[in-house]
């Protein structure tokens, strides 16, 4: 079902993607990093776009054992 959050491996190059995330934060202060994370979350939320999927994502992030 396409309304389901994907919680199985789905990134094409996981190590590279993870390294990109850390690289984006390199040299930033805590405040700058927090702001970057917030912008990133908003951009990804818009990309996903659907409340039902995002609600599952919030649930998974807040209490990983319940999803």
């Amino acid at each position: 079902m396409d309304a389901d959050l994907i919680l199985t491996p789905n990134m094409d190059r996981p190590d590279d993607i993870y390294a990109d995330l850390l690289a984006a934060h390199e040299g930033l202060s805590k405040a700058e990093s927090d702001a970057l994370n917030a912008r990133l979350i908003l951009i990804l939320m818009n990309h996903i776009g659907r409340r039902a999927v995002l609600a599952q994502a919030l649930q998974a992030a807040g209490a990983p054992e319940t999803v």
Binding site: A35, A38, R39, I41, L42
Partner: protein, 539 residues
């Protein structure tokens, strides 16, 4: 200062009621002559229901106060016969600009939909709104409508006697007593009636202070709504600039929680703040300064047998979104026709419970929207500020973030989804915006407008459909308004009332909300819907 503040519009005069041996009886007593109380009185009286308005004062309210009146309010004012002077005097605006820190992040245009008689919003000082309502009240009074305004009359006691209400009223000549079939308490957020009846008014307090300054200036700012998040002239806070008639500008500055209110209201504190915002070279004078805090709350129920609360006495919201006075007008719009039918014995008293249901629903919608705006404008935690700032940063470059910017979701009329007065939607392919419970959207019909044709009675609107010109069911007269696709070349009538359907029949309530709709006239279904819409089939 505008002299309208000083003119007594309904000065105290001694009434015969004060010399009556037994208390005089009135149909409806309305407590409070603000926008909501006056609208209720005009609505009832012009439909022949006797309405007495009592207010401890005798003038319009002091200061601009509510300044943003939404289209639905103007449409209601049209039905009351005073929409034109409001719109003629008001300032119309469509463009808004949003600033963050020292830069403009984006602007928007409300781009009002075509085919509506009234604009999306006008800005107008509350005192003008009240003045025009008082004028209209005087006008219908002169034409013989049963309406009376008593200034200098302060209600000091209210007792619900089951089948009537007794009121004790204090005047410069001493106290007197009257009785009423119903009382509508339109006595504001601090409602003395609510306090006298010991009723709760619970909700959420927002720990923030806002300075309102009305300034008169000859500035070349455009007629736009400007909103600042965290501007250099009010660091860490918000600011709003909005134009009113007569060269008056509303400036709203968030001040934070720990402030000395008396100190902040002094011109020597206010003027430097305004100069920092407007620039040193702008000449202005202060017309009115006020500091407000706000709460988002409502009464648990708006109807307490024969005492019915409307407007701020029943519910209170933050000012963001202009949902105070506008929702109060929707309260009386909802209540007046129901009270009329009940008083005339044409509907059961239970119909009044639908006022409670529908307007509590409206209040909850307003409280939700205004709380969300407030949380965006004044973030309550570090992380909410981080997200808020991220939204604003992104909004400068990416359109997707702009719908998240919340400097007030401007008042829209509420759809009464789930109301017991609605019949199930029976129009396949009908537009969602005109489903049962919805306020009717206007449509231009040549030189006329649809809403003006709906008036304040039950209407059977037919589009490309046959139906009798009138019918009566359970004491309710319904008049047909027959339209066809040809009446509106723009296609708006079809878009708003047909959708994918070829024809439609709508039953429309006196407050211009849809009660039921079908693809064709079905007498049995229409009669059942009329009974349902008037509480004759309520459980």
């Amino acid at each position: 200062m505008n002299k309208i503040f000083e003119v007594p519009l309904y000065p105290y005069t001694r009434s015969a009621d004060q010399d009556a041996v037994t208390p005089a009886h009135h149909k409806v007593v309305i407590v409070g002559a603000g926008p909501v109380g006056l609208a209720a009185a005009i609505d009832l009286a012009q439909q022949g229901i006797e309405a007495l308005v009592v207010d401890e004062n005798d003038k319009v309210s002091f200061g601009s106060r509510a300044i943003c009146f939404a289209k639905r309010t103007l449409e209601i004012a049209d039905r009351l016969g005073c929409g034109a002077p409001l719109v003629d005097k008001g300032v119309q605006w469509n463009v808004g600009k949003v600033f963050f820190d020292d830069r403009k992040v984006y602007d928007f245009n409300l781009l009002p939909e075509d085919g509506h008689k009234r604009p999306a919003f006008i800005n107008l000082q509350q005192y003008y709104f009240e003045e025009y309502l008082v004028k209209r009240a005087r006008e219908i009074e002169a034409e013989g409508a049963p309406l009376e305004l008593r200034g200098g009359n302060k209600v000091t006691a209210v007792t619900d006697q089951g089948d009537h209400v007794a009121l004790t009223i204090d005047t410069p000549d001493g106290a007197y007593t009257i009785t009423a079939d119903y009382v509508i308490a339109c006595d504001g957020a601090a409602s003395p009636i609510r306090a006298m009846m010991g009723l709760d008014f619970v909700g959420r307090v927002f720990e923030d202070n806002f300075l309102i300054a009305d300034v008169v200036m000859e500035a070349d700012f455009p007629t736009e709504r400007w909103f600042w998040f965290d501007p250099p002239f009010n660091k860490g806070q918000s600011a709003l600039l909005h134009k009113q008639p007569d060269g008056v500008w509303r400036i709203d500055l968030q001040l934070g929680w720990d402030i000395d209110k008396a100190e902040e209201k002094k011109p020597e504190r206010v003027i430097p703040r305004l100069k920092a915002m407007l620039g040193d070279d702008v000449e202005f004078s202060l017309e009115w300064v006020s500091i407000y805090t706000f709460q988002c709350r409502r009464m648990e129920r708006f109807r307490h047998n024969r005492v019915i609360f409307a407007g701020d006495s029943a519910h209170q919201v933050s000012p963001f979104g202009a949902r105070g006075a506008n929702s109060g007008l929707q309260d009386t719009d909802n209540l007046a026709w129901k009270l009329k039918l009940v008083l005339e014995g044409r509907a059961p008293e239970a119909l009044l419970d639908s006022y409670d249901l529908e307007r509590v629903h409206g209040a909850d919608e307003n409280i939700l929207n205004s709380s969300r705006s407030t949380d965006f404008i004044t973030p309550k935690s570090e992380i909410s500020r981080i997200f808020r700032d991220a939204v604003l940063d992104l909004s400068e470059h990416h359109a997707f973030a702009r719908p998240l910017v919340n400097s007030g979701r401007l008042s829209m009329p509420c759809t009464y989804d789930g109301s017991p007065l609605n019949s199930p939607d029976a129009l396949p392919g009908g537009p969602a915006r005109t489903r049962p419970g919805s306020p009717c959207p206007d449509v231009a019909l040549g030189n006329a407008f649809l809403l003006d044709g709906l008036g304040d009675r039950f209407t059977l609107l037919t589009v490309n459909a046959e139906a009798p010109d009138s019918l009566t069911e359970g004491g309710i007269d319904v008049t047909r308004l027959a339209l066809s696709g040809k009446d509106d070349a723009s296609g708006a009538l079809a878009a708003r009332y047909l959708g994918e359907a070829a024809a439609a029949v709508y039953l429309i309530r006196p407050d211009q909300h849809v009660a039921a709709r079908w693809p064709a006239y079905d007498e049995g279904a229409v009669r059942a819907a009329i009974r349902r819409a008037t509480g004759q089939e309520m459980q």
